[in-house]
């Protein structure tokens, strides 16, 4: 067992745990009791790997970005999760959890979604595997992410508006948890990020760890070397970062860089940087860093990227950051837009706004890079869903 992984109490250092009402205790305990056996079983691995290859299109490529390499003075590789089915890494976790749900005899799936990527991934997995699917989405997000709402509905999912709070991702998560409390017997809650009560953060990290599993052998294939010097990923709840770091965390020479959303700036009051500007607290069942008032009321974050617009962060990242194993940087809306623009023009890849935050770390790290350094940046998703924002911010004349 890695010293960096969750312990038998569901804790990462003092972070994590399962702060759920007694109504959810049996569900969470039940999941805790079986998830490792299921994930490690030959049957599950065979089925999961088959779907990852034949259905999702894995392995996703590791691409040597020669022009970015020149610009930033190091060898830059891109892990192309944007090429996975449904356009982002979210599908890895959605299919994995749906298979676990089936093994546990649950036939009704619920999920939360912000921008709609996890909702689409879950609706896709449910269509594929024949499960009933209900997705909670903040009423505000439903209005601003209409194409993804249509995709989910076309896939047969019921999209239910979360009407509480500010009617965004945090509130959709609350509604999904309330649904789970109300339907403990037949329902499995597929959480979209490495957040929530134990065992969710660990389960999601394990399912997403396929990203770094592939990175490792692909990197060796490219370079003949065993390990890169840096792995960089964006972080909201932290699932693509968890997947990208998972198989490198015990390799102390590999620097792990997580990039959170600074929004309009770390000190603007309009930010989603829960590690730079948050404090310790409890949200959605785990102890972690989060944005809140001095009275412990959870506040609404802000980022141009809907997928990073979450007041908390997965507990594993809070822990890795605190002990110094993971370095956390923050990119503003503007820095992310510039990075997206650069990648598009230089390498012909339009990234999701979330992934653009990871790319925005490159100019920040440029002075530290040695010419021989090898850097892997995870492109967690593609930018189709963000075209309205890109047009508005980068090409207003096209509006």
């Amino acid at each position: 067992m890695s010293k960096y992984q969750v312990n038998e109490k569901g804790l990462y250092g003092r972070f994590g745990g399962a702060y759920v009402p007694e109504m959810l205790y049996p569900n969470v305990e039940n999941l805790k009791a079986v998830y490792l056996d299921i994930i490690n079983s030959e049957e599950f691995q065979k089925e999961f790997k088959r779907l990852m290859v034949d259905y999702v299109g894995r392995p996703t490529p590791l691409f040597y970005a020669s022009k970015l390499s020149k610009i930033f003075g190091a060898n830059i590789y891109l892990k192309r999760e944007d090429l996975a089915h449904t356009g982002a890494h979210k599908i890895n976790n959605a299919i994995g959890q749906a298979l676990i749900a089936i093994k546990m005899g649950k036939n009704r799936i619920i999920a939360e979604t912000g921008a709609g990527q996890h909702g689409v991934a879950t609706a896709t997995a449910c269509a594929l595997l024949g499960l009933k699917c209900r997705v909670y989405m903040g009423e505000v997000d439903i209005k601003r992410q209409a194409p993804n709402v249509a995709r989910m509905r076309m896939l047969g999912a019921e999209v239910v508006p979360a009407l509480s709070g500010n009617r965004t991702l945090k509130d959709a998560t609350n509604e999904a948890l309330r649904d789970w409390i109300s339907n403990p017997d037949d329902t499995f809650y597929i959480i979209g990020s490495a957040v929530g009560p134990h065992p969710y953060p660990d389960m999601v990290a394990r399912l997403q760890s396929i990203i770094s599993e592939e990175m490792k052998w692909q990197f060796t294939e490219h370079t003949g070397k065993a390990l890169p010097d840096y792995v960089v990923a964006c972080i909201g709840g932290g699932s693509n970062a968890a997947g990208s770091f998972y198989n490198f965390v015990d390799e102390e020479s590999v620097k792990l860089i997580a990039v959170e959303a600074a929004g309009l700036g770390l000190d603007s009051g309009e930010t989603a940087a829960s590690m730079a500007r948050g404090t310790e607290g409890i949200i959605h069942g785990s102890r972690t860093m989060l944005m809140q008032t001095d009275d412990g009321q959870i506040t609404e974050p802000y980022s141009i990227s809907a997928g990073l617009d979450y007041p908390g962060v997965g507990p594993w990242h809070s822990y890795l950051n605190e002990i110094g194993r993971e370095t956390v940087l923050a990119a503003t809306d503007q820095q992310a837009l510039e990075a997206a623009s650069l990648l598009t023009r230089e390498e012909g890849i339009i990234p999701a706004l979330e992934s653009a935050h990871a790319l925005a770390a490159l100019p920040m790290l440029k002075d530290k890079f040695k010419p021989t350094d090898n850097v892997i940046v995870t492109i967690s998703g593609r930018g189709d869903k963000d075209m309205a924002t890109y047009i508005h911010r980068l090409m207003p004349e096209c509006e």
């Binding site: 109504m23 709070g165 409390i181 409890i282 809140q292 009275d295």
Partner: protein, 256 residues
Amino acid sequence: MKNRIDEMFEKKQNLLSIYFTAGFPKLEDTMPVLRGLEKSGVDFVEIGMPFSDPLADGPVIQLASIDALNNGMCIKKLMEQIKEMRKEITMPVILMGYINPVMHYGIEKFAQDAESAGVDGVILPDLPFDEYVEKYKEMFDSHKLHFIPLIAPQSPDERIRHIDSLAEGFIYTVASAGITGNIKTSVDYRTAYFERIRNLKLRNKAVIGFGIKDNASYKHACEHADGAIIGTAFVNYVKENGTSEEAIKKFVGSIR
């Protein structure tokens, strides 16, 4: 350690408890509501400490919580409001809320302030019972506070016995899988569950909450347990009818 809650159970049966959200409808309603409830003959109360993300609550208490927070309610304010309540309030008082705001207030300070205000119990649904026992029980005991645990229909007998063996005050029996104000199971289902609890012959008293809203549901709960807690229905009522003594008496009169 015994307090007002235990004395109440020694003397009374078919207990009626009311929950209200502090700071709702108005910031300064806490003491008027407490007075109104005591004069109406309610046996004990839960004062809700509003939280931005109340996971176990339905829309009515969620909205009341948001209003209360917008009115300026916080634990510090509440502690000031109830500081001298024991000059006039004799019934047991329980504070109910979520762990995050309490953690930020400081758990030790919270327990101290609650004790000096004369609070008797605390309900924090998202603080796991085992973590309470491990980290805070000693502290709460030293401040004469009972930590009231919840149990639910899906709680296995073994889990209920474990909780009962370590709990004090009473056990809050959640009537049905669900959130406050939204109960969809049948009376027969609930009866079977309440009887399962009764047959466990727990050392603690059991009080039923969630979905208790009128005379019929109150009476049904009292047939199978030691009392009942009404929350959502009362929060809705004061929203419509205000918090005058007369209005509160009318509500309580309609239940008993």
